[in-house]
């Protein structure tokens, strides 16, 4: 291991925070304010990307910051897993910034400055989570994400938004105070440290950690405590949080917030407990079954939803569980499958949300039933939607296929027919709720839309600020399906 102690980590970490400050400073001049966002996003991405070569070569960057108590530190560290998440979220932040400009101005939304400040600050939290190297640091940034997203969910400030945001913050605060805090303290009491283990095998508990029931209790407090991962039965905040403006749903609920959740769960499983201990106590398998349950049930609920964003929300819940499932199976291939789904799902799901937002801005439509023939009005948008759907379903050659491939390999390594069946059935379910949207858009049952002939239909795409980012993410979804090497290399470092 080649570890470099450097304050350089602070640059990608603090750039989003600086961007938030800049957003605040240029409150009055919206062009300047929004260009600050995009410059900040681009700079953050470059600062993260600069670290890639060293990480791929098996090195790490780290920085010791504050000591709260003996063995309780706030420490930053960049390794393969952080890079996986940091690269994804910083890159998508750039596209999302452009998309936000189109969306917020297209709808003439109020309180835009507050929106941008919280948006940038949330990315700061997400970066912090990615770079955390102790449980406490993780907890700190995890909580920051909760707080900064609270005003975003409440953005519309109507009754629905208040209810949704209250539910959101209640779920997150409840789980963090009642599960995470005691888990954190108990871990410290048992081990005397909160630092992550250097590898994914041994964990920090050692060979004789204490009573088995206590370890299991700590484990499940962490497993469910990171409620941003939306594992059932603590998933309900996610559909409620969809009252937020679509760019929030897109970046935050497809990328930053929920990924902060699954990332934390995976981090804790691999770097706090470690594969050995999870296998020894049979905790991995139980987790895999809980995740499978979430995958199937969330997909079935998605089938029943007629609102586009609600369907996407439940799809997110089920897809997130894939990531947890992969890690919980604890085989090399399944862990690859789980971790690589972090970027893959991010790119595809953000495309879907971008599309939903574009449809709303251009046509004010939220219900799936209203989308008859919309493919002719918004061909680019709906083409991107189709590609991203394929990725969700796991069809080759789009990104989601790679994840499913490794997950299936993992299930076979475990020779678990049950988990394999879960993967297959869930793919069918994914197809069952995504394809009808696509079919409806291009092959409407209601022919009234074509009364004047296809040629007469006016194209009404949303502004290019929105269409270009969503096309880009769709194309990238395909590219990562064909060339998953970057992610695979980063995951290789993890193992």
């Amino acid at each position: 291991m080649n570890d470099i102690q450097t304050a350089y980590i602070l640059i990608p970490l603090l750039l989003p925070l600086l961007t938030a400050v800049a957003n605040l400073v240029f409150d009055k001049n919206e062009n300047l304010r929004d260009s600050c966002s995009s410059i900040g996003a681009a700079a953050t991405f470059l600062a993260v990307a600069y670290m890639v070569p060293h990480i791929i070569n098996g090195g790490t960057y780290s920085l010791q910051m504050f000591e709260l108590y003996e063995g309780i530190n706030i420490t930053l560290k960049v390794d393969g897993m952080s890079m996986l998440f940091a690269l994804t979220s910083s890159f998508l932040w750039i596209l999302a910034t452009f998309y936000c400009v189109g969306y917020m101005r297209g709808l003439n939304e109020h309180a835009q400055t507050r929106f941008y400040v919280c948006y940038s600050a949330t990315i700061f939290g997400a970066m912090g989570v990615a770079f955390s190297s102790t449980l406490l640091t993780l907890y700190l940034f995890y909580e920051l994400v909760s707080i900064f997203t609270y005003p975003l969910v409440m953005h519309h400030q109507d009754d629905e938004a208040y209810d949704g945001s209250r539910k959101y913050i209640t779920y997150l605060m409840f789980t963090s105070k009642v599960f995470l805090l005691p888990a954190l303290v108990l871990t410290y009491v048992l081990t005397g440290t909160l630092d992550f283990a250097p590898d994914i095998v041994n964990g920090i508990f050692g060979t004789d950690p204490g009573p088995k029931w206590l370890i299991a209790a700590i484990y499940f407090m962490g497993f469910f405590g990171y409620a941003k991962a939306a594992l059932m039965p603590l998933h309900n905040w996610l559909p409620s949080a969809m009252v937020a403006p679509t760019p929030v749903s897109a970046l935050l609920h497809a990328v930053a917030v929920v990924k902060v959740g699954v990332f934390s769960v995976c981090r804790v499983m691999l770097y706090v407990f470690g594969i050995d201990l999870l296998e020894r106590y049979g905790l991995g398998l139980i987790s895999a079954y809980i995740a499978s349950f979430t995958i199937l049930v969330a997909s079935m609920i998605a089938l029943t939803k007629t609102n586009l964003k609600a369907r996407l929300a439940y799809s997110t819940i089920s897809q997130l569980a894939y990531i947890v499932l992969g890690v919980a199976m604890l085989t090399p291939n399944s862990i690859t499958g789980g971790l690589i789904h972090i970027p893959n799902h991010a790119f595809s799901k953000i495309t879907l949300f971008f599309c939903a937002g574009a449809i709303y801005v251009a046509h004010r439509k939220k219900e799936i039933a209203e989308l008859d023939g919309i493919g002719y009005k918004m061909p680019y948008t709906m083409a991107a939607f189709g590609l991203a759907s394929l990725s969700m379903i796991g069809a080759p050659p789009v990104a989601g296929f790679v994840s499913k491939w490794y997950l299936a390999l993992g299930a076979m390594e475990l020779s678990s027919i049950g988990l394999l069946v879960v993967l297959l059935v869930s793919s069918l379910l994914n197809a069952a709720y995504f394809l009808p949207i696509f079919i409806r858009a291009f092959f409407p049952k209601n022919k009234a839309a074509f009364a004047g002939g296809v040629a007469a239909i006016q194209r009404e795409e949303a502004s290019p600020f929105m269409v270009i980012p969503l096309c880009l993410t769709a194309v990238l979804s395909v590219l990562f399906g064909l060339y998953p090497d970057l992610w695979l290399k980063l995951i290789e470092v993890v193992k």
Binding site: A161, M173, V185
Partner: protein
């Protein structure tokens, strides 16, 4: 007696200076005229006082458990009363908290107090003398003098400058605290009769009989529990807070509530360790009840000051929880948390005061939806609210973390029961924040309405001025500083805490075990000593210890 003190490296009696500077300032203030001049003079004195207290921090030796910067002079020889001062790790931070919070109290009353200004500043200066004195006094009588001296200015603060219901609140405050003081006096006299001295360091670590410890502890503990306040003695607090003027609330929350918890650490633990250990489980449960009760009641409040007052009951419950764990992490945590509560809750009361000056109402509903008019204020309110709910990265999180570590090491059931308290804090603070900033009303319609109404609304709710900004900014520095870098603070207190725990454990092990209620009762009544079959090795007369106790040492280990 010199052995109790480390050498005063400053070369001058700094503690006496700190005590008497405000008093001298009060004397001069009597001669001054003009409200502005009086407030300016007071602010100046308190500022100098704060500056003078910095050398305490700088020169404090964290490696010794002895009392530092000590002074010891004969005062009333006939009764062996000394003028003895000194600070250790337990009192250092509290002295600094007091000297730094007081100037802020003057700042936040700059506009708020406009009648009887001369009396007000004199009250405040005397208050400071008394509070600083309480934390420095090493002689029980001196301590008691300062303790009582605190009571009257505080009573006046509420009764003269308070709100509509001030008569009720001030009398209630006075009676509750006085009841505690009387018990305190009883304990002090009992200790004097037993040892023949009022000098606190000499009273520590003596081997009193368990029964003697038991009663002295109870008298102390009741007095302090009222002051903290612990459930069920808390009812004076919300009344006093609601009616007190902003500076009164700030003093009350920041400093006065710490007197009780300080008392537990300064007297109960070192002087009556066996009783402390014996009764700790009871107090742990009472702490848990305080935490949960305070949290639940705070949830239902419509009055901002009441909400914060009840949150104080909960937060101070965490402090007493830490103290009665009697382990290193717990007590470190509670000392840090005392300081944190002083900073955060003081700041919250200042925040409420700022709103009150604009809307003349303490009701949440009269102050809601001000986010767009007072963005800077809201940022500060947000920070202090987060601190109050123990958000990681803020000061209160550090204290709570230490206390929880101590609790989980000691007793997992107690620790788990404290967790909902943390959740309740998050609930009521976020609810308060949401209502103050955004309010529950129809978003866009409200927005236009607000625009139409902006003239009127904005006239009331103009953003904070430079004076208010400076006050809040100063406190917020400490919120983040202690939140991220608590080490310098913890390092100052660790030696003293380790020492007090070690001594208490040693002498508690040496003391006799509980002898049942019979023995305890005969101790109190001075009756027959032959009720306790258990402590059979005790010499006759042992239990009549309230007049003879100094004669014998530890009633022998042999029987146990």
């Amino acid at each position: 007696m010199g052995s109790f003190f480390a050498e005063n490296i400053l070369g001058f009696p700094i503690l006496s200076v700190l005590i008497f500077l405000p008093l001298a300032g009060a004397g001069v203030a009597m001669l001054l005229r003009g409200d502005k001049l009086l407030k300016g003079w007071t602010l100046g004195i308190m500022f100098v006082e704060a500056l003078l207290s910095i050398p305490l921090w700088v020169n404090f030796d964290p490696n010794t458990a002895l009392f530092q910067f000590g002074e010891n002079h004969h005062w009333i020889n006939a009764l062996h009363i000394n003028y003895a001062l000194g600070i250790d790790g337990i009192s250092l931070l509290l002295v600094l908290l007091t000297t730094f919070v007081m100037p802020l109290c003057i700042l936040c009353s700059w506009k708020y107090i406009d009648k009887r200004v001369k009396e007000f500043v004199i009250t405040m200066l005397i208050m400071e003398t008394a509070m600083v004195g309480v934390f420095m006094a090493l002689d029980l009588v001196l301590f008691y003098v300062f303790w009582e001296a605190m009571l009257i200015p505080m009573y006046l603060l509420i009764a003269v400058w308070g709100g509509d219901n001030k008569a009720y609140a001030s009398v209630k405050f006075f009676l509750y605290t006085l009841a505690g003081s009387v018990l305190l006096l009883v304990a002090i006299i009992a200790l004097y009769l037993s040892q023949g001295t009022f000098f606190i360091p000499e009273l520590m670590g003596q081997s009193y009989s368990f029964a003697f410890q038991f009663w002295v502890f109870l008298a102390f503990a009741l007095a302090f529990a009222i002051k903290v306040p612990m459930f069920p003695f808390h009812t004076w607090l919300p009344a006093a807070h609601v009616e007190a003027p902003t500076p009164g609330s700030v003093i009350l929350a920041s400093v006065l509530l710490k007197m009780g918890t300080y008392g537990f650490l300064r007297f109960c633990l070192p002087i009556t360790p066996a009783a402390m250990f014996y009764l700790a489980p009871v107090f742990l449960w009472v702490s848990i009840i305080s935490i949960l009760y305070g949290g639940f009641v705070a949830l239902g409040q419509k009055d901002m000051k009441k909400l914060i007052a009840y949150s104080s009951v909960g937060h101070m419950g965490f402090v007493t929880l830490g103290i009665f764990l009697i382990n290193l992490e717990g007590i470190q945590g509670s000392i840090i948390q005392m300081v944190n509560h002083g900073i955060t809750t003081g700041a919250l009361f200042i925040c409420v005061g700022i709103l009150y000056e604009r809307s003349h109402s303490r009701m949440i509903s009269d102050n809601s939806a001000i986010g767009s008019f007072m963005p800077v204020y809201v940022a500060f309110l947000g920070l202090f609210s987060l601190s109050s709910l123990a958000f990681p990265g803020t000061n209160s999180f550090v204290g709570e973390l230490y206390i929880l570590i101590g609790a989980f090491k000691q007793d997992k059931v107690i620790a788990f029961l404290a967790i909902p308290g943390a959740l309740l804090a998050a609930t009521y603070m976020l609810r308060l924040l949401q209502k103050i900033i955004w309010d529950k009303s129809d978003g866009h319609a409200h927005h236009e309405e607000a625009h139409a109404d902006e003239g009127g609304h904005a006239n009331h709710f103009f953003d904070i001025n430079i004076r208010e900004f400076a006050t809040l900014a100063f406190l917020s520095v400490f919120v983040v500083w202690i939140g991220l870098m608590p080490k310098p603070f913890v390092n100052k207190i660790t030696t003293s805490v380790t020492n007090v725990i070690a001594n208490a454990t040693a002498s508690s092990n040496a003391a006799t075990t509980p002898q049942g209620l019979d023995g305890l009762w005969s101790e109190l009544t001075g009756g027959s000593s032959h009720g306790d079959g258990h402590g059979s090795s005790d010499q006759p007369g042992d239990n009549t210890g309230h007049d003879a106790a100094p004669a014998h040492g530890n009633p022998t280990e042999g029987g146990h």
